[in-house]
């Protein structure tokens, strides 16, 4: 059942569940953050509309910098603004920022410890038709290995809004990962969000779960659908939403592993270096259990619709179910 304490969207299993891209939630959050704090500034590299920074730019034109198609400049200028007390949010596609400008982020933002918020939209395979050049499948790995930075991958638009508001107040560097495509709204305004805290979204009605499914990003909806079907098949699972990849909620992950003794991780990212790797780093040092990884396995994407691509690269509901069954067959 859905965790009743979290006030998740009751329509989550309906066919007509609302579909909103997470970038839209970011746009709303940035506008609100801008109204609260006049030090919030926005920078964009010629993708203001598609990264949903346009409502902020229109409302606060004096606090918006259009840098042109120049992602290295985007983040280094943001570092300079932060050095003078501003809280810059700089947006582009994840493939270009942090894809193209990683060293600038490292030196001028994380090493320099300036509170710049890097907003990477159009992450993952669900970018769709634009194809492999534009599908960032490496950005979590690129960002989470840097000291000083928080890495947040919201599961839906509402969580993206909350994460944006929360990151505006941390006083430290952050990366927020967003998607282009529509994704199901899983949470509600009442659902808690806290940086560094993971939450169990699905749990057995009674008894202990046999497999813990840890998900980051929009695939949470497919994981919940999988968990519900598995329950009907007699397999009890827990589904954890791990939006905060860094800091990581090690305590909650270890506790889930102790209960389930088996873990499946699910992410729209390369399996190498992503959220699943982060979870594995926690578990191998504390409570090693068999794990299966759902994600992109050492491949690049291609053109197609988001749904086609998620199925093709084995990240859909049935692939999650298969991974759960596979991990159950493994000896502990």
């Amino acid at each position: 059942m859905l965790n009743p304490k979290l006030k998740l969207n009751p329509k989550v299993f309906n066919n007509d569940v609302e579909q909103v891209p997470t970038r839209k939630g970011f746009g709303q959050g940035l506008l609100l953050a801008g109204e609260i704090d006049k030090n919030i500034v926005g920078l964009c590299a010629d993708l203001t509309g598609s990264t949903a920074m346009d409502s902020f730019a229109n409302k606060f034109p004096e606090r918006f910098i259009q840098v042109g198609v120049a992602e290295q400049n985007l983040v280094t200028v943001a570092s300079g603004l932060a050095a003078m007390g501003k809280i810059p949010f700089c947006s582009s596609y994840a493939m270009f920022s942090p894809g193209r400008n990683w060293e600038q982020i490292r030196t001028t933002i994380t090493y320099n410890d300036q509170p710049v918020k890097i907003v990477g939209s159009h992450s993952g395979i669900s970018v769709g038709a634009d194809g492999g050049t534009h599908q960032a499948l490496e950005d979590i790995a690129l960002m989470r290995i840097l000291p000083n930075i928080d890495v947040i991958n919201p599961c839906d638009a509402i969580e993206a809004k909350k994460a944006t508001l929360a990151l505006a107040k941390t006083g430290k560097p952050a990366y927020i990962r967003l998607g282009r495509a529509n994704s199901a709204v899983v949470t509600t305004e009442e659902t808690p969000f806290e940086i560094g805290k993971a939450e169990i979204y699905w749990m057995p009605d009674i008894g202990l779960a046999e497999v813990g499914i840890i998900v980051t990003g929009g695939l949470i909806h497919r994981a919940l659908l999988a968990a519900k079907e598995l329950e009907d098949e007699g397999i009890k699972t827990k589904v954890m939403n791990l939006a905060s990849i860094k800091p990581i909620d090690a305590e909650a992950i270890i506790s889930l592993a102790k209960e389930c003794k088996r873990i499946v991780t699910v992410e729209e990212h390369q399996v190498a270096g992503g959220m699943g790797s982060a979870v594995a780093e926690v578990l191998v040092q504390n409570f090693p259990v068999p794990m299966e990884f759902v994600g992109v396995k050492d491949l690049y994407g291609q053109s197609g619709t988001p749904d086609e691509l998620i199925e093709h690269y084995s990240m859909g509901k049935d692939s999650i179910k298969e991974a759960v069954k596979k991990v159950l067959e493994r000896k502990n």
Binding site: A70, T76, V77, D113
Partner: protein, 281 residues
């Protein structure tokens, strides 16, 4: 900032000489680092820290101070040496350069030495940070109250990031950005015009909508006049192309690109001290 008297010029010449002596001392002790660039920029740093800059070494985080971005972080021996002589920290501390736990990292790190405004080393990012600082000043209505000085190398003009920053500063007409290029014509592997020709450098900056000034990097009076002009230009950012002699002050090191990234041995250091001590002003 004002007219330079003969006495002031003499004082600055002596300061620059002291700064050079300390640079050699720290490099001999550290046994690694860069020699040519720091020596070449000693006059300019002396002029800035003992005449031009609005700053207070006893109150390094003074909110209204001018900002200094050292984009080519590898010349930090001149920054550290000048800051020590200006009173930011004890001159004795210079000998800790590049040692474990030292505040004086091989390239400047703001976390270790909070008196610097940015961490730097990887080339090509400093001008963008200066541009960001100036944009913040514009938003806060402070762009007439202070200057953002960005010291950069000619070699780092090879970096695309630099040109992105130049375009943005031109777009927003950032009046309080003043970039100073150490035009010493050398980089690690040779002379700039062989590695990647920069000329016509003046015309390139001009075409990016900057006010461009060229000056000898070792003539205090002329340098000072040019900086005053840069501060007066109201409608656009200014770049000062300062023609410097790499290794300046020690004949053996001057104009030789091989001294870009190596340090003097103890014997070479003694030779350098002798020459610097005998300098006439």
């Amino acid at each position: 900032m004002s007219f330079l008297s003969e006495e002031k010029i003499l004082e600055l010449s002596k300061k620059a000489n002291d700064i050079r002596v300390s640079i050699i001392e720290m490099l001999v002790e550290a046994k690694s680092g860069h020699t040519a660039g720091p020596l070449g920029m000693a006059d300019i740093f002396a002029l800035f820290y003992f005449h031009v800059l609005k700053h207070d070494p006893k109150n390094p985080t003074w909110e209204d101070r001018d900002r200094v971005v050292l984009s080519n972080g590898h010349i930090c021996p001149v920054l550290y040496s000048t800051m020590a002589h200006a009173g930011y920290f004890p001159v004795e501390e210079l000998k800790t350069l590049r040692k474990l736990g030292a505040r004086l990292q091989g390239h400047p790190h703001r976390e270790y030495l909070p008196y610097v405004d940015t961490s730097s080393g990887p080339l090509g990012s400093g001008l963008s940070q200066a541009v960001g600082m100036a944009l913040a000043d514009r938003m806060d209505g402070k762009d007439k109250d202070r200057f953002i000085y960005c010291f950069m190398s000619d070699g780092e003009m090879d970096e695309g990031n630099t040109w992105e920053a130049m375009m943005l500063a031109g777009k927003y007409k950032l009046r309080n950005v003043i970039a100073i290029i150490d035009r010493n014509n050398i980089q690690i592997e040779g002379v700039t015009e062989d590695i990647m020709p920069l000329e016509p450098l003046h015309a390139k900056w001009k075409s990016f909508n900057w006010h461009v000034l060229e000056v000898s990097g070792h003539d205090f009076r002329y340098l000072n006049e040019v900086i005053e002009e840069a501060q007066t230009i109201f409608e656009k950012p200014t770049v000062i192309i300062a023609h410097t002699i790499p290794g300046k002050g020690v004949k053996e090191f001057e104009r030789n690109y091989k001294w870009h990234g190596i340090t003097p041995s103890k014997e070479e250091g003694e030779m350098a001290f002798k020459e610097l001590r005998n300098a006439r002003f």
